[in-house]
């Protein structure tokens, strides 16, 4: 295929590793899945000829045809509802929701139908449907284009929820999500679509639902997912300059949550801060904090703190820098846990 010059640039191959932006890694992962199984379908608004508003599916319709990469009518419930029917007929649909705030017209089909059909059918039906959602802020966009809706989905039994933070994870996690017999809500940190990273196309680093330590440290455990992992690493670098050693854990999977690396880390550091773009009330960070308190209570030297978006609607873009947790707000929480 030909790769047009767009926001997602062609891959740069170096030895066995390939350097590419996260969005291009998703594209490569989906291309591999489409090539491996002729019942993998991509569905969504503007994903065919245009390649999606973020160009993540660019070139795939030209390569695999209009019956494998479907430009759908503009109706989210319709997209997800028909994806369910296609899964019943033996297909593995991969749905693109154009923006986080646009998923809600399809919310009923995701939560009352997709999530429950395997259970409702007593295991006779599998629902291998992936719902890709570009999510989160940092792009200065208008209302409904910068939200972090993960808690709605982690609260719903029957769904799996994951979010990659690197190009390598994007490449492998999208393929693992497509291979899953269960529905997967796949949250793509849109701010990271253009962030380049090394992709090892030969073998995956860790399983889909594993959390992972991405920076070693001894004083405070910092945990987060998606684009926030970058901010946590920035905070850890700044903290190091002030003599504080932070360990950073990338959650990767929001449901189920792999607590092993988190608890192991907290038992060593005794302190933890969770950072997230989403509002903090009944959030993924709340769940992780509660579980760490239940399971590592005697290892804790300080209360687990959460640094979150405020519990207000996502503000107009000129205020996103105030709303979204940055390295300074994370370090403020680090100071507080260290003060104990």
């Amino acid at each position: 295929m030909t790769e047009a010059a767009t926001t997602t640039r062609p891959a740069e191959v170096t030895g066995t590793l390939t350097t590419m932006p996260l969005g291009r890694a998703l594209n490569a992962g989906m291309r591999a899945a489409l090539a491996a199984d002729d019942h993998v379908l991509l569905m969504g608004e503007d994903i065919g000829r245009l390649g999606g508003v973020f160009r993540v599916t660019e070139g795939l319709q030209a390569e695999f045809g209009e019956q494998r990469v479907l430009d759908t009518p503009l109706a989210e419930s319709g997209i997800i509802g028909t994806a369910i029917g296609l899964a019943m007929a033996g297909f593995r649909p991969v749905v693109e929701i154009q923006f986080d705030g646009f998923v809600f017209p399809g919310f009923d089909q995701i939560t009352t139908q997709l999530a429950k059909l395997t259970n409702r059918s007593e295991g006779r039906l599998q629902m291998p449907v992936v719902i890709r959602i570009p999510y989160g802020g940092h792009i200065g966009a208008v209302e409904h284009h910068q939200e972090s809706p993960e808690a709605y989905f982690t609260h719903t039994a029957g769904l799996r929820v994951v979010s990659p933070s690197t190009a390598n994870d994007a490449y492998w996690m999208i393929q693992d999500a497509i291979a899953s017999p269960d529905p997967v809500v796949f949250l793509e940190p849109k701010a990271k679509y253009w962030a380049k990273g090394e992709v090892d196309t030969a073998s995956r680093a860790v399983p889909l639902h594993a959390s992972r330590v991405v920076r070693r440290g001894t004083d405070v455990t910092l945990v987060g997912h998606g684009a926030m992992v970058t901010t946590l690493l920035q905070a850890a670098a700044l903290a190091e300059g002030e003599g504080t050693s932070c360990e950073v854990v990338d959650l990767r999977s929001l449901s189920p949550i792999d607590y092993g690396p988190i608890l192991d880390s907290v038992r060593r550091t005794g302190r933890m801060v969770y950072a997230q773009e989403a509002p903090g009330f009944t959030s993924v960070g709340s769940e992780v904090a509660a579980t760490v308190m239940e399971r590592a209570f005697y290892a804790l030297e300080a209360p687990v703190l959460r640094v979150s978006g405020f519990d207000v609607p996502f503000p107009p873009a000129k205020l996103e820098g105030v709303y979204l947790p940055d390295a300074d707000r994370i370090l403020e929480a680090v100071d507080r846990v260290l003060a104990h």
């Binding site: 009518p73 419930s77 997800i80 509802g81 296609l86 009923d108 139908q113 259970n119 295991g123 189920p256």
Partner: protein, 375 residues
């Protein structure tokens, strides 16, 4: 209410059972005229069985054996006619009141009972050949219309329809009601079905009432004209089993042949309550109910068969079979056991999930702790 002079209405049997086709029914007469007597008798037998089962299930709910029952009383002709028009290879997506559609396709009536008794969320396996490709009920109104459309898209993509061999072409039929017709999902299903030329029949039973809200509040436009914005749409007398059969048969044939989706509005009446939790005396008049009693689909078909010479022995046999069915349902319902608590943890996911596994283990230990304490 059916406007008596609506020129679009397909009706073959008048309310008194006489053969009196409307002008709109003319194109369908060849289908009905080709039916052998045995089929006509089977339609009546199906309707009688349906009514007996439905009455028995309503009694069972009143006696505390079921959590809920949505009666199909009054809608037998629309359901039997449409279900008998399907082919073995077709796929059925019912709503939650299509009891006789399901049983005609092979579903055990006690499997429907198990759902309404609180023993299962589904009751039967659509993939088991004995169930005739019948999907379990969906209680969120209209949501399943999209599943049917998606399934039909799969038929198109897999080349399982419009092959030029009508004997193997597959289609889907989805059932919904006048209330559900207001749901966005129904309209989105029609958009997608039309866009991808899905071999699908949208079968709307207009039973006049969405619980307590009359159809006039759902739409200022006749419902079949709404559907006509998306696809060819037909208005049929849903209390006429022959007309219901004929229009569905042709619509399915056209869908299987690759002509795209079709919509049918079957005008009927819910003679019972919405469910056993409902009280229709609070919102509708006995005059209205009486006017529909005069159009009872079973009475109509019985009169038609009698006029054709069906014997008293035939009707006695039908009644005996219906009674035997109802008795069998009662016996087997009363023999239904319960389900183990741990079953709620099964099949939440297809692949293992640590949180569910942990909670299942916790509950088992918790329950075992009581047994140990007692010993």
């Amino acid at each position: 209410m059916i406007p008596p002079d609506d020129p679009a209405l397909v009706r073959i049997l008048a309310a008194d059972g006489s053969y009196a086709p409307t002008p709109a029914a003319e194109p369908y007469l060849e289908i009905v005229d080709a039916l052998p007597d045995a089929d006509l008798e089977q339609f009546y037998r199906d309707m009688a069985n349906s009514r007996a089962f439905d009455r028995q299930a309503t009694h069972l709910q009143r006696q505390g054996q079921l959590a809920l029952w949505p009666p199909s009383f009054g809608q037998e002709a629309a359901q039997v006619g449409s279900a008998r028009a399907t082919r073995t290879q077709d796929h059925i997506f019912p709503s939650y009141r299509e009891h006789v559609v399901c049983t005609i396709r092979g579903v055990d009536p006690v499997d429907i009972i198990r759902l309404m008794r609180g023993l299962t969320h589904s009751g039967w396996d659509a993939a088991d050949p004995k169930n005739g490709n019948t999907r379990p009920y969906t209680l969120v109104l209209g949501a399943h219309t999209l599943h049917a459309t998606g399934y039909g898209m799969g038929l198109v993509f897999d080349g399982r329809t419009a092959t030029g061999e009508p004997e193997r072409d597959e289609a889907v039929i989805v059932y919904y009601g006048d209330g559900a017709s207001s749901q966005g999902d129904v309209h989105e299903a029609m958009v997608f079905a039309a866009s991808y030329r899905v071999p699908q029949v949208f079968f709307l039973q207009n039973n006049q009432w969405a619980i307590s809200v009359p159809v006039a509040t759902q739409s200022r436009t006749p419902l079949h004209l709404r559907a006509a914005g998306y696809m060819p749409s037909i208005l049929v007398d849903g209390n006429d089993v022959l007309a219901s059969y004929a229009v569905t048969k042709r619509a399915l044939d056209e869908a299987r042949a690759g002509d795209g989706p079709r919509a049918i509005e079957a005008m009927t009446y819910r003679m019972g309550a919405h469910t056993t939790s409902d009280d229709p005396t609070k919102y509708r008049t006995s005059d209205e109910e009486q006017s529909w009693t005069l159009r009872d689909p079973l009475v109509r078909m019985r009169a038609f068969l009698q006029a054709r010479g069906a014997s008293d022995a035939f009707f006695a046999d039908v009644d005996a079979e219906a009674q035997a069915l109802a008795d069998d349902v009662r016996t087997r319902t009363n023999a239904l056991g319960t389900i183990p608590a741990e079953s709620m943890f099964a099949h939440v996911y297809s692949d293992p999930h640590p949180l569910v596994a942990e909670q299942r283990a916790w509950l088992a230990d918790y329950e075992a702790s009581f047994e140990e304490g007692a010993s």
